[in-house]
């Protein structure tokens, strides 16, 4: 869903650029609490994997393809602040080195694919985590559902931006219908890839998955009441 130069007018592109810059500023501050010597390499892995997976366009309908966006995957692997940073690095490299996504549209693309998908993915994931049984086996399906929904929501945000500063005068209802329709199918692919990626890491090292730590901590307390008591009194 990389927006090229020219789809949105200059004022809108400047505005999205400022919002994206602010979001990165907030993420740089917040990521400090998510990253340490142990988790920092995971941020590199998350960004590298998302870049690679974004190259793999899969067919979704006749003459249409889609690829992973990766916001929900990033947020559950490394946390929301670091997730925004990982997505921003991917989108900057894609635009500057591979001419994928306009340079004046970089702010738009970071906002749509780096911030909206991360926030929506995190919100839905945390909501599902609260509603579902607190089990490790629930983490990957919850992320997959969050991933699925994050894609059409991001597509709708593009429509909202187009309503504000679209270069062509087209009926917005039709645009919204077309964008959501196609991006629900892309979202299904996003869910499958996210499920496989998060499921694989949970299978070997669940403690490395940011979104699984809450479940692991609760499990630890249930399994080791003595340790919990000790932790509470010390």
């Amino acid at each position: 869903m990389h927006v090229p130069d020219g789809f949105l007018d200059a004022p809108t592109s400047v505005a999205t650029g400022l919002v994206a810059a602010a979001a990165i500023g907030v993420a740089l501050r917040g990521a400090r609490n998510e990253l340490n010597d142990r988790t920092a390499p995971l941020a590199g892995l998350a960004a590298a994997f998302i870049f690679a997976a974004q190259m793999l366009n899969f067919p979704v309908a006749s003459g249409t393809s889609g690829h992973l966006l990766g916001g929900a995957l990033a947020v559950v692997l490394v946390g929301p602040y670091t997730g925004v940073l990982c997505m921003s690095v991917v989108l900057m490299v894609q635009s500057l080195l591979f001419a994928d996504g306009g340079i004046t549209a970089l702010g738009t693309n970071i906002l749509l694919m780096g911030v909206v998908t991360v926030l929506v993915g995190w919100g839905i994931f945390r909501g599902l985590q609260a509603a579902l049984p607190k089990k490790l086996s629930m983490v990957a399906p919850a992320v997959a559902a969050a991933a699925l929904i994050s894609v059409p929501v991001s597509a709708l945000c593009f429509v909202a931006l187009y309503a504000v500063g679209g270069a062509a005068d087209i009926p917005l209802g039709n645009l919204a219908g077309a964008m959501v329709g196609v991006h629900i199918f892309i979202g299904i692919g996003e869910a499958v890839i996210t499920l496989l990626a998060v499921g694989s890491i949970i299978a070997v090292r669940p403690d490395l998955v940011y979104g699984a730590r809450r479940v692991l901590a609760e499990r630890e307390l249930e399994l080791r009441p003595g340790a919990a008591m000790k932790g509470a009194t010390s």
């Binding site: 990253l35 892995l45 960004a47 690679a52 366009n57 591979f98 001419a99 062509a168 070997v204």
Partner: protein, 119 residues
């Protein structure tokens, strides 16, 4: 009490994941669908794709995920993919280590600091 001896080390998880990423970008990407992606297709169908302006980095050595000067399409795309994974990995790992919490700043998380600073 932690099963540190039996579990896979973090560096091997990262190494394995990076190998998967390199294979996806370097080899599997050749088989990706060449159809326009969702947004581009909608732009074509709804008649606003002509407002797209040429990319100012379109003459770059890896523009369009293809390495300039290499005729073999599979090789040109594969090299571009590998370069992309390496660049993204280097930038994001570097950024993460710059931003991260240092050991001496972890006084408010004693259990975490203890676990890491042994050795």
């Amino acid at each position: 009490m932690t099963n540190t001896s039996s579990r896979v080390a973090t560096k091997w998880v990262v190494f394995g994941g990076v190998v998967v990423a390199l294979i996806l970008a370097g080899v599997v990407s050749f088989y990706a669908s060449g159809s326009p992606d969702g947004l581009n297709k909608v732009a074509l169908d709804r008649g606003f794709s002509e407002t797209e302006e040429p990319h100012s980095a379109a003459d770059g050595p890896f523009a369009g995920y293809s390495s300039k000067g290499i005729d073999n399409e599979r090789l040109a795309g594969g090299i571009a993919g590998v370069v992309g994974v390496v660049v993204v990995l280097a930038l994001s790992t570097g950024l993460a280590f710059v931003v991260r919490r240092r050991h001496d700043e972890e006084s408010d998380a004693p259990s975490d600091a203890n676990r890491q600073s042994t050795g």
